[in-house]
Symmetry: C2
Subunit: 419 residues, 2 copies
């Protein structure tokens, strides 16, 4: 089977993106509220399009939309092309939806070329991936695998305060699935999971590349409540060797972690280290005082657990050493950890082979792909170049770049050895 001339249906893509924008624009941004009217409008648009392509369409008990191109063997493990259809408040048109549109554009091309696969291919419009509306991520994919803590049913929606349970019932879905941790999807029956998503950072714009194969979704080890306790004193009256300067010690620690980062990066490790919150105590600090206290965050992310653990251990060692040196006490506190999700090597190689200029990168943000990978489903992801980051009204993906990335998905499916 050759994919040389098979192209995704970009006419369909353009029309779907237009419909989505028209139906869910509120002011300058996009609002597709999880389990709300905006998300439902997106599901309706996709469902209608799938019916137009003569796909089998169904909705699971918690609202995930399944749009299936039947294969020769209906009982064989099937392929899922998925992404979410919700957005953050005042988000952009592409974060999430592009992955579902990509799936439909691929299936449309297969329909038109009358290509039939050995197994089913299901495009999955996943519910509620964002945590902006209910303070929990992956409701749709996590719920489908029975992974959710039933306590999540009482989480209130951030804007109207209605619980997840009430919201599900209003929408006609069944909260018992979550309460009883039912599995709607059997991971053993999924041959592979594929997801296209806009890149949420600036790498592809900077690299002048249309698409990237994702190596993995970074995990995180985060010192959420780190502190340094020194001693307040007059900034003029105490010399260096007698200070207990919390700012100086914190600067030394964060500077040290930057050198650790550079070393790891030079050794080829995937790693980002961020201190996005850092502050002296506003009720006690002063312009002519040595600071007696700092609060800060150290957020360590990598696709490698070993790398994150090594950095976290070094942070603890350095805090002890620098604390002694600066006569202060660091209390880095407990970490909150989330494991990385590694993408399937074979799928990565298959996707790379579809790109004229193969390029790989880690995903810093989370995706439904992480849930499928966690369930042991071989998972592959492709990023599309996107200007201005995501989660804002200025997301900017060109249809051309989208076509290249969707073409890679399509080519992978056509050439995938096991289909």
């Amino acid at each position: 089977m050759s994919s040389e001339r098979l192209q995704p249906d970009l006419k369909l893509a353009a029309s779907l993106f237009d419909s989505l924008r028209e139906a869910t624009r509120r002011g300058s941004g996009i609002v597709r509220d999880s389990y709300g009217d905006g998300e439902q409008a997106a599901h309706d648009i996709m469902s209608t399009a799938a019916q137009g392509l003569d796909l089998e369409v169904s909705v699971d008990a918690i609202g995930n939309l399944m749009m299936t191109l039947a294969g020769r063997d209906r009982r064989a493990p099937f392929i899922v092309i998925g992404s979410h259809l919700d957005s953050v408040p005042q988000g952009g048109n592409y974060d999430g939806a592009a992955g579902v549109v990509a799936g439909l554009c691929a299936l449309s091309a297969f329909r038109q070329a009358r290509i039939r696969f050995d197994c089913d291919i299901t495009v999955m419009g996943i519910r509620a991936e964002e945590s902006a509306w209910f303070d929990i991520a992956y409701l749709g994919s996590g719920g489908a695998f029975g992974l959710l803590d039933p306590a999540c049913l009482s989480i209130p929606r951030s804007d109207n305060g209605r619980t997840l349970e009430a919201t599900l019932v209003e929408r006609g879905f069944d909260p018992r699935v979550i309460r009883e941790r039912k599995r709607l999807l059997d991971p053993a029956r999924i041959k592979s999971y594929l997801e296209l998503h806009i890149e949420q950072g600036p790498t592809l714009v900077a690299e002048q590349l249309p698409a990237a194969v994702v190596t993995g979704i970074r995990g995180c080890i985060r010192f959420r409540n780190a502190r340094c306790i020194g001693r307040y004193a007059h900034s003029g009256a105490v010399n260096r060797e007698h200070r207990h300067d919390a700012v100086a010690a914190t600067v030394a620690l964060l500077h040290h972690l930057e050198t650790v980062w550079l070393k790891e990066q030079q050794a080829g490790a995937d790693l980002v280290i961020t201190s996005g919150e850092l502050y002296t105590n506003p009720s006690l600090h002063g312009p002519s005082k040595i600071a007696g206290e700092t609060h800060f965050v150290i957020d360590v992310r990598s696709v490698s657990i070993a790398t994150m653990q090594a950095v976290a251990a070094e942070a603890r060692r350095a805090a002890a050493r620098i604390g002694d040196e600066y006569r202060v006490a660091f209390d880095l506190g407990a970490t909150s950890d989330s494991p990385p999700a590694v993408m399937d090597e074979r799928l990565r190689a298959g996707l790379r082979a579809q790109l004229a200029r193969p390029f790989e990168m880690a995903s810093g943000a989370g995706h439904d792909a992480a849930v499928f990978a966690k369930m042991g489903v071989p998972t592959g992801m492709i990023f599309v170049r996107n200007e201005h980051g995501s989660h804002n009204a200025d997301e900017a993906m060109t249809l051309e770049d989208f076509g290249i990335a969707t073409g890679a998905l399509l080519g992978l499916l056509v050439n995938f050895p096991l289909t």
Copy 2:
């Protein structure tokens, strides 16, 4: 004239410190409010003691207390031994008052030993040195030299809101002195100014020394409102080379300034550099965000203007360089500057010669001595060891250390070539 056996009157010192404590203790701390009842009580105690020593006692138009041991030539330039008698709210018993007590103990010893000097020696109980009550320092000494901006008369007292002008009038003093910038003291008529003060930092405790000769009072060049503007982004989704991380850049700048400090210190320069306020924007920062903004202070102090200026210039150069490197914009803003006050070389040498273990250090905090030095009066200062810093109820100076430092002042006066 020999000072071998001449000792300051420490019995008087003990009695004065007790009286001060008794009269001005409020709860656990001392309250000698500037131009308030607490300060007045201290002035009354000193005035009574001076009359007991048969000194000439007068009060100038803004309330400074002058207690004079007449010399042979009443018209010759005279020596002032001064310090302030006010305290911060809930301060300690020694900050300020020790210098006045030292002067009286020296004059008492001279009286008892029937030593007569060529010129007058005046112990000056100076008003309102602290800026805690009225938001301006050196009211008494600055006012005596006609240095105050008349606008200061409308500054409200921090606790009761009454203006300085109303407060002066209530106390029976004359605000016209300040309004008309009258000189109550002619600097050309002051031969030298001497001040004893408790050390406000931990140096003498650490060095296990009872006293130190002050080399100078550090000036300050302060970047009060420095900022770094980067760009907020997802902490996982943006790699190092594409970040605009305001915290990372600020850490790099402050770390660089610490290396500058170390280098200057190794080269023998007097210098302290402090960032006592440092904070990301609490309404925009977040644990999984790269910070797009920091606010911070850089406070540079030295007895050398050249050293401070060199550090400030290097801070600006480094901010530009590091800003480029980290793709952020530093705006260090304007500096607020106060010049250092250099102590008289001859007086320093004279005081050193009086100490069994001569030791010199800079003063980080300001003192009335800075005002006299600024007016061109040859000025000398001596610090007394003091635990727990100053401006708090736990100030701890021993009478023994006080005796050593006061003995040095007394010895200097006896041996001072020009008296």
